[in-house]
């Protein structure tokens, strides 16, 4: 297994280099940071503009190859350059990654777990009321764009807050300033953060579980009449136990691959949620940087996305090996 993973890691490293380089070249060629200076009043002197752009390695008058060389040398030393504002990209990337993770982990895990359970339940109750309701609900969720869903949740939360007269839900930012200084100290700070998390987590979980439940339902339908489930029942397991212990366990295997890749992509894909709820995560940063023409940030985030997706692939390989004895190599 270890050598298999090593081989995969080497392959993936090559892929990351290619993906990151292409991302940089595209961003550097297409984005025009010079325009930012031209809009300023008063317009800065040409020499200053040139110097500033060159300092940030964003000068479109420098040949692309040279800029790429500078950028690549920096990246090899673990430095993604500077943002438009002049601060190091690395620090900001790290900070925003943590924000994104705080926002996403709960939602992604809850979405997966609930989606799998609902999908499995729907399959077991095929064509009956629970199945119909779950199917209807998941189609509804799939049909609603994430930002609409987020807005709807906000509206509903506002109603709840108004009716109860309490601030049960919060929907702007990660925390309220000064929450940790209240009567309950650090505990109050935590509570405040949880209140801020509720809505965005629900948004992400709902969007995810709709997809997962559809996939899981069809996976589960495949094993519903499987011979080994019948064997399990012939051994004396009830239908529900046989389906959970033997059916669901087998039907979960393909789902894990799907989960791993989705999670890798989710890091960037949560930009709507971040925007709507005012979380300053990676997705939001990418969008803002593109409008600003900040090629270094765009390249860094893309590079990070490539790493995330390929790591997800690696994780899915490991999970597959753990869950499915049939693919383990060198088992004999």
């Amino acid at each position: 297994m270890a050598s298999f993973l090593l081989r995969r890691l080497v392959n993936h490293a090559v892929l990351v280099v290619v993906a990151a380089s292409l991302a940089y070249l595209l961003a550097a060629a297409a984005l025009k940071p010079r325009a930012n200076f031209e809009d300023r009043t008063p317009r800065p002197p040409a020499a200053v503009v040139e110097a500033e752009l060159t300092r940030l390695n964003l000068n479109d008058r420098t040949p692309l190859a040279d800029r790429y060389r500078v950028w690549a040398t920096g990246v090899l030393h673990g430095d993604f350059g500077r943002t438009w504002q002049g601060s190091p990209v690395n620090d900001e990337l790290w900070r925003r990654l943590q924000v994104s993770l705080r926002l996403l982990v709960l939602g992604a895990v809850a979405g997966f777990a609930l989606g799998v359970l609902l999908g499995a339940w729907a399959a077991m109750k095929r064509h009956r009321m629970p199945d119909r309701l779950i199917t209807l609900g998941s189609y509804l969720l799939l049909a609603v764009p994430v930002f609409v869903l987020a807005m709807l949740l906000q509206t509903a939360a506002k109603q709840v807050n108004d009716v109860t007269g309490l601030q049960v839900f919060e929907w702007v930012g990660e925390s309220s300033p000064g929450a940790a200084d209240g009567t309950f100290g650090a505990l109050g700070g935590l509570g405040d953060r949880v209140r801020h998390l509720l809505l965005p987590t629900a948004t992400i979980a709902l969007a995810q579980l709709a997809l997962y439940s559809r996939y899981q339902r069809s996976m589960m339908l495949d094993v519903l009449d499987a011979d080994f489930v019948r064997t399990a029942r012939a051994k004396g397991l009830r239908r529900r136990d046989a389906l959970l212990r033997h059916g669901l366990r087998t039907a979960l295997i393909p789902m894990c691959t799907y989960f791993a890749y989705t999670s890798g992509l989710l890091l960037l894909g949560a930009m709507f949620t971040e925007k709507v709820f005012g979380w300053h995560g990676l997705g939001e940063w990418l969008i803002d940087s593109i409008t600003r023409g900040d090629a270094n940030v765009v390249a860094a985030v893309d590079c990070f996305a490539a790493v995330a997706v390929l790591l997800a692939g690696l994780v899915s390989d490991v999970l597959y090996g753990v869950l499915d004895p049939r693919v383990r190599v060198g088992a004999r």
Partner: protein, 701 residues
């Protein structure tokens, strides 16, 4: 995980007491059972039987006769949409109508089941030991450790070598025979009162079937359970069952003691079934008009019955006693069925125009030293070759005009690989293939395409080998247009082909799914014949068909050969079918041909111990003879094709090797035998250092 060491004969569990007290009370009693699937499909219609402790009831019938529905209904495992009524009593307790929770306390404890396909019937992701242990834990509430230990004991009981190690393995690491042993271990884990075995040996090779039946016998003796053995194989029932019940269209049409029913079958369907079996001793099989759908009113067998009376249409005949010891048959015209040969007379031999002797006929296919190896790779960053799967490892054979060569062997012996390699018409890895005098390695693309007209193939599975989206006419037209037959001629040719294979003109507009298995295989044969080939490669053409349908297709093949002078290369695992259809036979083992010669010579006096073992393992559909049969099951599984043993490849499983002295054994261990003329045989060669022409068991008095 392959298990190379030979399997020791199963040992009775020390705790097992001698059982079989003369308990007359039936353990499992089924009465007037009806199973109806959702849209009015009546799978089982009023079936009843009773099995006593230690007794084996064989249930036979063709596909769709309701055997499996009966088994599932007994255990309450039918799909939820199915409706069941009647009565299923286990030791007098009614099981029908109980909840899943109540039934789950009975299933796997008092009433166990062994399923057909042991690969799909075991959960792929759980360890084997855990799967057996689960059966124990569900019912006995034993601790995990104790249950695991008991599981290993059970695995030893059913003859799994290295049980403790195998218990930590997964189902895909085991061979088919070993998986079926695991299924049996699971079934007997809680000393059940009754075991229902649904086609337990159908997917297995004859040699492995023999071993598994032996295990089932041991299991029966260890637990004293009553066994309901469901199968389509009359040979298996003859040797294993005490009583037999024949099912047709969801009804039990005949039942009674095995000896009685086999000797004097009284229902025309049973008679037909018996007589349509190809016999290992060369007795002719009688093809039945066995492809009518069951009638919906009256006796369901009437449309196919040769002794049908007007009274047969007047409602289903009730079972009536026709012999001693509870022999009953559901037939109106029992007067006519007193003489079997009057119902289905012996077939007239297929009229063959006299063939010139073999050496005067030109060879249509010559294979010399053919090799097909699949390389195996291993390694992390770079791959290196670590040996090869020797699928075909140097075989030579020839087929002459107008004759049939049968190619037989266990699964994995390389027979299909050899056929595919010939069909490719390419350059073999080693050796030469000459088709109609042309070396396939030297063919141009145009010549190769032209040659394909003369060489066609029929595949095993008529359900998978026809495109479900094409009508029969389109299937038959495709080869014609591919080879540039003029459009105007095609419709006529399609009709001609349908007639040739015994189908009706209106079948042309049907889709494959609207045809029965036999009809589909006829379409497959018609497609192969479309271009008037001279050589047909047949890959298990009847293996997927019911016995009665098999006989019809085999007869068709014989007839076509006689009329059109076709040559066949007939790949099969069923030795009886090969005996019936082939002129010569080649026995393959481990990528090699170990014996080749005329069918009569090889079957009457097999020189190679492997041929002998294969013939010995075929169950014979005659209870008396079947019980007398030498039971010397071939030890072990078919070998790992990537690691042939030194010297003779058959040595590790060879029964003859055991009887040799040290000096003689050295020859086997060191020198790989080549094909040599067998003693006494004219057209018979065997690759054995100590060939003996032995009289097969069915010849001995």
């Amino acid at each position: 995980m392959t298990v190379p060491e030979p399997v020791p004969p199963p040992v009775l569990h020390p705790a097992a007491e001698p059982v079989l007290e003369p308990a007359a009370e039936p353990v499992l009693e089924i009465a007037d059972l009806h199973v109806t699937y959702a849209p009015g499909v009546r799978a089982v219609r009023g079936v009843g039987f009773a099995v006593r402790r230690g007794e084996v009831l064989g249930v036979v019938g063709e596909s769709g006769s309701g055997k499996t529905a009966l088994a599932l209904a007994t255990l309450g495992l039918l799909p939820e949409s199915a409706r069941v009524r009647g009565s299923v009593r286990l030791r007098g307790r009614e099981l029908l109508g109980r909840s899943d929770a109540e039934l789950s306390r009975v299933r796997g404890k008092d009433l166990a089941m062994v399923f057909q396909d042991p690969l799909s019937a075991l959960t792929p992701v759980h360890q084997i030991g855990d799967q057996i242990a689960e059966t124990i834990r569900v019912h006995a509430g034993a601790t995990r450790g104790a249950a695991r230990a008991r599981a290993v004991e059970l695995m030893e009981l059913v003859g799994i070598p290295g049980a403790a190690r195998v218990a930590r393995g997964y189902p895909h690491e085991l061979s088919g025979g070993m998986r079926q042993r695991v299924m049996i271990a699971m079934a007997i884990a809680n000393d059940p009162l009754a075991i229902v075995a649904d086609e337990p040996t159908t997917a297995l090779d004859v040699t492995v079937q023999e071993q598994v039946l032996e295990v089932l016998r041991v299991a029966k003796e260890a637990t004293g359970a009553a066994i309901v053995l469901i199968t389509h194989d009359l040979g298996v029932v003859a040797g294993f069952a005490d009583r037999v019940m024949v099912m047709y269209a969801g009804r039990a049409v005949e039942s009674g003691p095995v000896g009685e029913v086999y000797r004097r079958p009284r229902m025309p369907y049973t008679i037909g079934l018996m007589r349509s079996l190809p016999r290992l001793d060369g007795g002719a099989a009688r093809a039945l008009p066995m492809e009518g759908a069951p009638a919906t009113t009256g006796c369901p067998f009437a449309p196919r019955c040769p002794v049908v009376l007007p009274a047969c249409a007047r409602g289903e005949p009730p079972p009536a006693p026709v012999g001693p010891a509870g022999h009953v048959a559901a037939c109106v015209n029992t007067a006519a069925t007193e003489r079997q040969d009057r119902v289905f007379p012996d077939p007239e031999p297929v009229l063959r125009s006299p063939r010139p002797p073999r050496h005067e006929r030109p060879p249509v296919l010559e294979v010399t030293g053919l090799v097909k190896h699949h390389p195996r790779y291993r390694g992390t960053l770079y791959k290196r070759r670590v040996g090869a799967v020797r699928a075909v490892d140097g075989i030579s054979l020839d087929v002459r005009a107008g004759e049939t060569l049968g190619l037989v062997g266990e699964s994995g012996c390389g027979k299909t690989s050899a056929l595919m390699e010939i069909l490719r018409l390419g350059t073999p890895q080693q050796g030469r293939i000459t088709v109609f005098g042309q070396d396939t390695a030297a063919l141009t693309a145009a010549r190769r395409k032209a040659l394909r007209r003369d060489l066609q193939v029929v595949f095993q599975d008529p359900f998978a080998s026809l495109d479900p989206r094409m009508r029969v006419a389109a299937i038959l037209t495709e080869p014609l247009t591919t080879h540039g037959v003029r459009k105007a001629l095609i419709p006529g040719r399609v009709q001609e082909l349908l007639k040739l294979v015994g189908l009706e003109p209106e079948h042309a507009s049907r889709y494959p799914q609207d045809l029965s298995g036999g009809q589909r295989q006829r379409v497959g044969i018609a497609r192969a014949l479309a271009l008037e080939p001279r050589l047909l490669l047949l890959d298990e053409p009847v293996a997927a068909l019911d016995v009665s349908v098999q006989a019809g297709v085999t007869e068709l093949l014989e007839e076509l050969q006689a009329r059109m002078g076709l040559a066949y290369l007939f790949v099969a695992h069923d030795l009886a079918v090969v005996r019936q259809i082939a002129d010569r036979v080649a026995v393959m083992y481990h990528g090699r041909i170990v014996e080749i010669g005329s069918v009569d010579a090889v079957y009457e006096a097999p020189a190679h111990p492997y041929t002998r073992a294969l013939l010995d393992a075929v169950p014979y559909p005659d209870p008396e003879r079947e019980r007398r049969r030498r039971r010397t099951p071939l030890a072990g599984d078919p070998p790992d094709p990537s690691a042939p043993p030194e010297g003779c490849r058959f040595r590790p499983r060879c029964p003859r090797h055991a009887g040799l002295d040290g000096e003689q054994r050295r020859l086997c261990a060191e020198i790989d035998p080549v094909l040599r003329a067998a003693p006494g045989g004219q057209d018979q060669r065997a690759a054995c250092h100590y060939p003996q022409g032995e009289t097969p068991w069915w010849k001995s008095p």
